[in-house]
């Protein structure tokens, strides 16, 4: 068949194609008119959700930046406040203000220490002083005056600065007085106080001693009593590690401005949000990929199945 005649055949197909029967036309006419309704389109909805999330994420970080992070920046502020006091150096704290966190009597609150219980108390303090020798001697004198003793000392001076490390044992009863006295020596750079309860161990030892005594085990009683004495000694004297230095701060700490703090906080929050999104992507990504592959595979299978069905249908 020539191309022209085949083209005529195709035209014949086109021209002879029948119109829809009147019955069908009537049926379609009788169908109610479709009213456009609000519909949620998937792609615009996803785009809108992403944009909303971005806006909310950035908005939250900006809001938090303007408001100031209550947790992070309060610490920073305190740090700089302490640094500022460190820079002011030279001026000894004759009357340390409790509000600056340097009132150790307030810091060793009754919540931490209980006079009715045997407790092991450790204190570590670092101070900057002007007169290293005088401050060291003053600390030793104070310790002895309060009934304590020097367990170890390390004193070193150089041309620019000097350091003195004292390991002191101070009776627990006078510990707060000792700390209050040490704070007068110079500017506090750092402090650490820890309290561990020994009362439980003491009571257990007492019970074991009574039991051994009842059983008539003299050697065991003696050994346990030695341990009891050691424990009581441990609870009687607080360990104070006092480090005195004349070193000046290396560099002047710049107090960040409001804008810097805003940028810092916003950046922190944005970073955390990015990490959360990345985490969600890493966790959900493989599942989404598998679901997409399954969807594509099922669609391909269905299309092939449909085509086979139509091929088989005459």
């Amino acid at each position: 068949m020539s191309e022209a005649s085949f083209e005529m055949v195709l035209n014949e197909l086109r021209e002879a194609a029948p119109p829809a029967p009147e019955r069908l036309r009537g049926l379609v006419r009788s169908l109610p008119a479709a009213t456009p309704r609000f519909s949620l389109r998937v792609r615009p909805a996803i785009s809108a959700a992403i944009v909303t999330m971005l806006v909310v994420g950035v908005g939250v970080s900006i809001y938090a930046g303007l408001r100031g992070d209550p947790a992070g920046h309060r610490n920073t502020a305190n740090y700089f406040s302490a640094s500022e006091s460190a820079q002011s150096g030279g001026t000894k704290q004759r009357n340390p203000a409790p509000s600056r966190g340097l009132g150790f009597e307030q810091q060793l609150a009754p919540g931490l220490t209980a006079k009715s219980r045997l407790q092991k108390q450790d204190v570590a303090m670092r101070l900057r002083v002007d007169d290293l020798s005088g401050a060291t001697q003053s600390a030793v004198r104070t310790t002895r005056r309060l009934g304590g003793f020097v367990a170890g000392a390390d004193y070193a001076t150089r041309s620019e600065d000097g350091n003195s490390r004292l390991a002191l044992r101070v009776p627990v009863a006078n510990l707060q007085k000792a700390i209050a006295s040490f704070t007068q020596l110079g500017t506090i750079l750092s402090q650490h106080i820890s309290v561990a309860d020994l009362q439980g161990g003491l009571e257990r030892l007492d019970a074991r001693i009574a039991k051994a005594r009842h059983a008539g085990h003299a050697q065991t009683v003696a050994r346990l009593e030695r341990r009891r004495d050691a424990l009581i000694r441990e609870g009687t004297y607080a360990h104070v590690s006092l480090q005195l230095t004349t070193a000046k701060p290396a560099a002047k700490n710049v107090v960040p401005g409001r804008f810097d703090r805003f940028l810092d906080t916003s950046g922190d929050i944005l970073g955390k949000e990015a990490i959360a999104v990345l985490y969600a992507l890493v966790v959900a990504g493989p599942f989404v990929l598998i679901a997409a592959l399954l969807f594509l595979a099922e669609r391909t299978r269905r299309r092939r199945s449909d085509h086979r069905l139509l091929e088989e249908t005459g």
């Binding site: 197909l13 086109r14 002879a16 519909s39 299309r303 139509l310 091929e311 005459g314």
Partner: protein
């Protein structure tokens, strides 16, 4: 919109099924589906005619699947296509051409009706069929070649 595309939908279904009565039923079902799914129609993704043809195809495939299941269940293998004296695919069609079209498979007739009778472009036809435009060209070429062969053999026979 329904009436505007009614003829196209009917013709498409007529070629797919080779049965005017069935095509009429399926066309009615197609428009009922269209009414139910109207809110899913997105004009940006294709013309209304394309969407209606896709719905018509779905209706026809559902019918063919149900028919295949029924045949398997009942063990019936005879064709349901009625033996009509009149040409199936149009009143003015020559009997030889009508027979040649009838001898094609539904898949072949489908691509012929889309590209030749409804004169859809390759991309639109591809969208209706859910395949690539190149695959549409291949299928059309094979279907037309087969149609030509059938007509030639019919004339010779």
């Amino acid at each position: 919109m329904a009436e505007e595309h009614l003829d196209d939908v009917y013709r498409y279904l007529l070629y797919m099924t080779g049965n005017p009565h069935l095509a009429e039923d399926l066309a009615a079902e197609t428009f009922e589906r269209a009414l139910r799914r109207w809110r899913r129609f997105d004009p940006r993704r294709g013309a209304a005619r394309t969407w209606l043809c896709q719905l018509a195809r779905g209706a026809a495939l559902d019918h063919f699947r149900a028919d295949r299941r029924r045949r398997k269940r009942e063990g019936v293998y005879a064709s349901d296509v009625p033996e009509l004296d009149e040409p199936v695919f149009g009143e003015g069609l020559s009997p030889a051409l009508d027979r040649a079209v009838c001898s094609l498979s539904a898949a072949e007739r489908e691509v012929v009706v889309l590209r030749v009778v409804l004169e859809l472009d390759g991309e639109t036809a591809a969208r209706v069929l859910g395949i690539r435009p190149t695959a549409v060209s291949t299928r059309l070429s094979r279907a037309l070649q087969k149609l030509e062969e059938r007509m030639v053999s019919d004339v010779r026979g």
